[in-house]
């Protein structure tokens, strides 16, 4: 290899083995690379020396992933490095690097100044900007801050995350809605109202809202302004009681709602295939009016400690018939298995999901429905065949093991392709004694299995 100092930079790059696809020609860096290559053969012992001067795209790759403190500190490495950090297109003010635990009480003007200084020194487009205020920090992202900072970002930013922690601020300033290039937007701890001249986020694919209070109609206006939206996540938000979605591009939806939610209607979301619904503090019967037709993944999580959690109340039999026929993965959490009615309901769910491949049932709930276990009728198996089901995980607290056993017996008797069933009674602090564990193991071994290859794992 005989590097020539004539010829253009791209020829020199090919000779050095730098991929053309991402070269940023910083002359001093390229020159120092040549100095180190000039008299070395490609030979294993020498190549460790050769890498002491790294190619520029390699440096860019690392700089983009450095935490904000480490990134700004590179300015002191040498005079060449002084401004290298200023053109990295990612700025993430988050985590311990931004505000370590002993700095959570930094006065707000100091925190503000850090961010403003960085933005003023920065040079070039910013594609990704995160400002996540940690829990316990007294700093709040104010209107004034955002009006100062967003103009630095609005032309180019694609990923934007602005999260106040725990504080409900005044309205999100309208200036944020001028970021037209956004493909991913996450915000939290603000009041949301939509500016009257909002023309939408035409490129937005991924929207995440947490702890946001919606003014009337704001959520609907926001979503209808995002014609390409594919992923939507709404958690612990207030100010909406009706959730009716008709975005045709939406594929993934995750919704954490509270007991004020009156109605969820999803049948118009024709491409929605991955749905998670979680009740924060209980749900009202009849809550779900419709579900998407082609669901493949469905997680439904009841609230942790509400006695009125009955899955049968919110997903009525008519919905089961029309919406569960493509489901491959199903997860139900905080199911109260020792309610006979609920156990029968789970069976009807399984019967409505012929394509089901993986099933996850968990009960973290502290609710102890004091009922004597009902062994009088075992679950009827003959009319059912779950012939795609391969993996089952059942994880419960030690005290509800009897009822889970009925369900397990049903599953083992009807699943002709079952590979693994894991039964974990280890949740919670109450442990079963050795005799009970032994008797459960014996029962599991004796249960009739439709699939000869099925492996049953018992964890405690």
């Amino acid at each position: 290899m005989n590097p020539s100092f004539c010829g253009n930079a791209s020829t020199q790059c090919i000779a050095a083995g730098i991929p053309i696809s991402h070269c940023r020609f910083s002359l001093s860096i390229v020159r120092s690379l040549y100095m180190s290559l000039f008299n070395k053969k490609a030979n294993q012992d020498d190549h460790i020396d050769r890498i002491s001067d790294l190619p520029s795209n390699v440096i860019d790759g690392i700089l983009e992933h450095l935490s904000i403190r480490d990134l700004v500190r590179t300015s002191i490495l040498s005079t060449n490095w002084r401004y290298m950090w200023t053109s990295v297109p990612t700025l993430k003010f988050q985590g311990r690097s931004f505000l370590p635990d002993d700095h959570l009480n930094y006065p707000s003007p100091v925190v503000s100044k850090i961010i403003t200084d960085v933005l003023m020194l920065h040079n070039g487009p910013i594609y990704k900007f995160n400002l996540l205020i940690p829990y316990g920090c007294s700093f709040e992202i104010t209107l004034e801050c955002l009006n100062t900072w967003i103009p630095f970002l609005s032309r180019n930013v694609k990923h934007l995350e602005l999260v106040n922690n725990g504080t409900y601020l005044d309205k999100m300033p309208y200036i944020v809605f001028s970021c037209k290039e956004l493909t991913k937007f996450r915000f939290g701890g603000f009041n949301l109202s939509i500016p009257p001249n909002f023309s939408g986020f035409k490129r937005l694919l991924n929207l995440q809202l947490q702890m946001v209070t919606f003014e009337s109609g704001a959520l609907e206006s926001l979503i209808s302004g995002c014609p390409l939206l594919e992923k939507l996540r709404i958690e612990y938000c207030h100010g909406f009681e009706y959730f009716h979605i008709s975005t045709p591009t939406l594929k993934v939806l995750s919704l954490v709602f509270d007991k004020n939610m009156k109605s969820i209607c999803l049948k118009k979301a024709q491409n929605l295939s991955d749905l998670t619904l979680m009740a924060n503090d209980g749900w009202v019967p009849g809550l779900i009016k419709s579900l998407p037709k082609n669901m493949q993944r469905f997680c439904c999580i009841a609230s942790f400690s509400d006695k009125k959690n009955v899955f049968a109340d919110i997903i009525p039999p008519t919905l089961l018939k029309s919406s569960f026929n493509s489901i491959k993965y199903l997860r139900l959490a905080n199911v109260i298995l020792n309610e006979r009615r609920e156990l029968l309901y789970i069976v009807s769910v399984l019967k409505s999901a012929p394509c089901l491949v993986e099933l996850d049932i968990q009960n973290y709930s502290l609710v102890d429905v004091a009922q004597p276990p009902d062994h009088s009728e075992e679950l009827e198996c003959r009319s059912c065949c779950l012939n795609q089901l391969k993996t089952v995980n059942i994880k419960i607290r030690a005290t509800s093991n009897q009822d889970a056993m009925s369900l397990i017996r049903f599953i083992l008797a009807t699943s002709t392709s079952l590979k693994t069933l894991t039964f974990d009674v280890g949740l919670g602090s109450q442990k079963l004694d050795a005799l009970v564990l032994l008797s459960i193991s014996q029962d599991l071994l004796l249960m009739k299995r439709a699939s000869q290859r099925a492996e049953v794992k018992f964890l405690h």
Partner: protein, 160 residues
Amino acid sequence: MAQEASSSTSSKTISLKTGDGEIFEIEASAAKQMKTVQRLIDDLGDDITIPLHNVFSKELPKIIEYYKKDITGEITKDFEAEFVKDLNDDEVKVLFLAANYLDANKLFEFLSQNIADRLESKSVEYVRKYFGVENDFTPEEESKLREERAWSFRGIKEDE
């Protein structure tokens, strides 16, 4: 030590020759993930042994291992953690440079994050050594910069 040739009849294997003369086999679908290799295949054909002057027999097997997992969709956080667990900072750097040369994007992204994590809160001297940088600031310039950016100099760990 040359790797055993893959015996799959359904997918083609490509032979790669490292800068220190060792030959390794890789499946054609994994080779596609390394744009430099794919470009060389397009130019030279897939029956010839592809020469990789800037990659050596210490790194290439690791890279092949990564992409073997990638084509079966098995790359998980646990796998990635395990993958770099026993490598020291210099070994990761060498692997990273190889991934750069091969234009292997997924590995490049993963290793750049891993290196950034390893450099987290390290002292200025350590980072200088890692990037092969000589300090050419005057003491006055340096102390002025440290003062201006005081917030970024807090919380640095001592070198081991």
